[in-house]
């Protein structure tokens, strides 16, 4: 597998909004300095016209492709899509992936040091929104000297960021590829997030978010992740993956996790707490729940005046971000006369399909980008 990979990559860090120039957030509070972790793959061309910004989902990070070390067991989270000859072809395009504001993988978030107290922010961290997250990414793009991105793309919450770029900075992008996402979070999506948050906050180790000196709310965060994983799969994909199969070594306890599916969720939960901060989970899920591009706007006017091209992708078995939500994006683009392509991919993987259904996704993305990039050469615009 490694020969098709971009190879060894390194995470970079960029700090902005220093003292006196703090970033004003949507909630009204000011935050700074802010550091974002990011990675880049491929080369920026002389015209700086081949840059693509990859936007990650709830639990993602800047490490989207390649390996940090030669002997790393797993590559970045979207390595199947980013690399030489892949959908986001690093032989052609300059691909950027940044960790989000509020995250815990090298970017400023609740676990970062608060310069005012010299302790982690914890719940002193301000409430953030998807727009705040996107505003921070703007700094990275400006820092890299890119006037206009060839494309912005991401699945799930990454798609919300792509749509926010489209609406807030239409002049900065030539195209957007929102995948398995929505114009606004639905009550069902909010409900699942809230159960996750309640699990974290009910853990006695959470301590109103002040757990950084001691053991954190691992049990609560693991349960939140388990709920998440259930919503990322489909009835069919669970049946295919686990059936009613039981684990081999059954321990003599009534409620041991003896079904394969239980073991899987337990493993996923326990694995997650090693790499994710519980407070980040609270802040980021809240940003997703507050996401509503239609607030104060109508679907008729949402994309009005925007010239960017759109590729919208949904997956048939995704019940967390159902296809009707992607069709709303298509509806807004129809009403605004945007050039758009929409495909509902026949997949049984549920919401996880955006990470797994790479054959179809590659075909769509590769040809779409080829067209958008080709138009620059043709029209010079």
């Amino acid at each position: 597998m490694k020969e098709k990979s971009i190879g060894t990559v390194k995470t970079e860090y960029f700090t902005f909004a220093e003292a006196g120039q703090e970033l004003k957030l949507e909630c009204g509070e000011k935050l700074g300095p802010i550091t974002l972790a990011y990675e880049t793959y491929g080369e920026l061309n002389a015209a700086k016209s081949n840059a693509i910004l990859i936007l990650h989902a709830l639990s993602g990070d800047a490490h989207a492709a390649g390996f940090h070390q030669e002997d790393d067991k797993y590559p970045g989270w979207w390595d199947t899509m980013i690399g030489p000859g892949k959908a986001f072809d690093t032989d052609k395009y300059f691909v950027i992936c940044s960790n989000i504001l509020g995250g815990c993988k090298g970017s400023t978030g609740p676990s970062s040091n608060n310069p005012k107290t010299n302790k982690p922010y914890a719940l002193d961290f301000p409430v953030i929104t998807v727009t705040d997250i996107v505003n921070c990414q703007r700094y990275i793009i400006d820092h890299l000297g890119i006037e206009k991105l060839l494309s912005v793309t991401g699945g799930s919450m990454g798609g919300m960021q792509a749509l926010t770029w489209l609406v807030k900075y239409p002049e900065k992008i030539r195209s957007a590829i929102p995948i398995a996402t929505a114009l606004k979070h639905s009550p069902q999506q909010i409900a699942f997030d809230e159960v996750g948050r309640q699990a974290i906050m009910a853990d006695p180790h959470w301590k109103e978010g002040n757990y950084y000196d001691e053991a954190g709310p691992d049990k609560g965060l693991a349960v939140a992740r388990m709920i998440g994983h259930i919503t990322y799969m489909s009835d069919q994909s669970m049946e295919d993956k686990f059936g009613r199969q039981k684990k081999k070594e059954i321990k003599p306890f009534k409620f041991t996790a003896d079904f394969e599916v239980e073991g899987y969720l337990k493993y996923r939960g326990e694995h997650f707490v090693k790499r994710f901060d519980a407070n980040s989970y609270l802040y980021i899920t809240k940003a997703m729940d507050n996401f509503n591009l239609l607030e104060g706007k109508t679907i008729q006017t949402l994309f009005k005046g925007i010239r960017a091209k759109l590729l919208v992708i949904a997956f048939k078995s995704d019940w967390l971000y159902p296809a009707y939500q992607s069709k709303e994006i298509v509806k807004a683009s129809k009403l605004a006369g945007l050039e758009a392509t929409y495909c509902e991919v026949d997949s049984t993987y549920g919401h996880d399909a955006f990470l797994l259904e790479t054959k179809e996704e590659t075909h769509l993305v590769k040809n779409f980008l080829k067209k958008v990039y080709g138009d620059i050469e043709k029209n010079g615009t």
Binding site: K334, A340, L364, G374
Partner: protein
């Protein structure tokens, strides 16, 4: 001019369309017609197609294709959004013929319809002499697996347009390889109509 070996009906439709128009192709299939209109006529085109594989083919051609059903996908467009709405070999397959037709006329300044002729003489002969549901070049399906749900003749369609106040500006009738001018309702396989309101 590689497209000049394109399907005859596509070439006829292309000739009916003014250059640099804004097109909506309903039931665009693999996008061959749109591709012809984009490259030869410099049109801006969108297609709606329900078949997923056809969407992949359209995307490969660099076209704007929307995966969906034309029975429900038009209400989101405002009036006169397109210079031409095309329904080539798709209108006879929709569930709600009348609704789709009216919607096409609403969102398009002009509408181009291409339909097979159920009253072609070979179909008439099969029905009359063999007593069997006809299978012809333009109606190639058996009765049990046909995607067509509306079986109409050219005369039927012309009367229908009249009843819906759609003006037939031009009509072209096609045989197997060339245009037909003599008794088209008997000898033409396909009718292509340019309609306005």
């Amino acid at each position: 001019m590689e497209h000049r070996n394109a399907r005859l009906d596509n070439l006829v439709i292309s000739d009916l369309i003014e250059a640099k128009s804004n097109i909506l192709d309903l039931g665009c299939g693999n996008g061959d017609l749109m591709s012809l209109l984009v490259t030869e006529k410099e049109c801006t085109a969108h297609g709606i197609e329900k078949d997923e594989q056809a969407i992949y083919e359209g995307v490969e051609k660099g076209l704007n294709v929307l995966h969906g059903d034309i029975d429900s996908g038009l209400s989101e467009y405002s009036d006169n959004s397109f210079d031409y709405v095309i329904l080539n070999q798709s209108l006879q397959q929709v569930d709600h013929f009348d609704t789709v037709f009216r919607e096409a006329l609403r969102v398009g300044k002009k509408v181009i319809v291409g339909l097979p002729n159920f009253a072609h003489y070979k179909a008439r002969l099969q029905l009359f002499f063999l007593g069997k549901a006809p299978v012809t070049r333009s109606l190639p399906y058996s009765w049990y697996d046909s995607p067509n749900v509306h079986f109409l003749s050219m005369t039927d369609f012309i009367h229908y347009c009249d009843s819906r106040n759609a003006k037939i500006e031009r009509s072209v009738f096609l045989g197997e390889k060339r245009k037909v001018s003599l008794l088209p309702n008997l000898f033409a396989n396909v009718g292509i109509y340019l309609l306005s309101k």
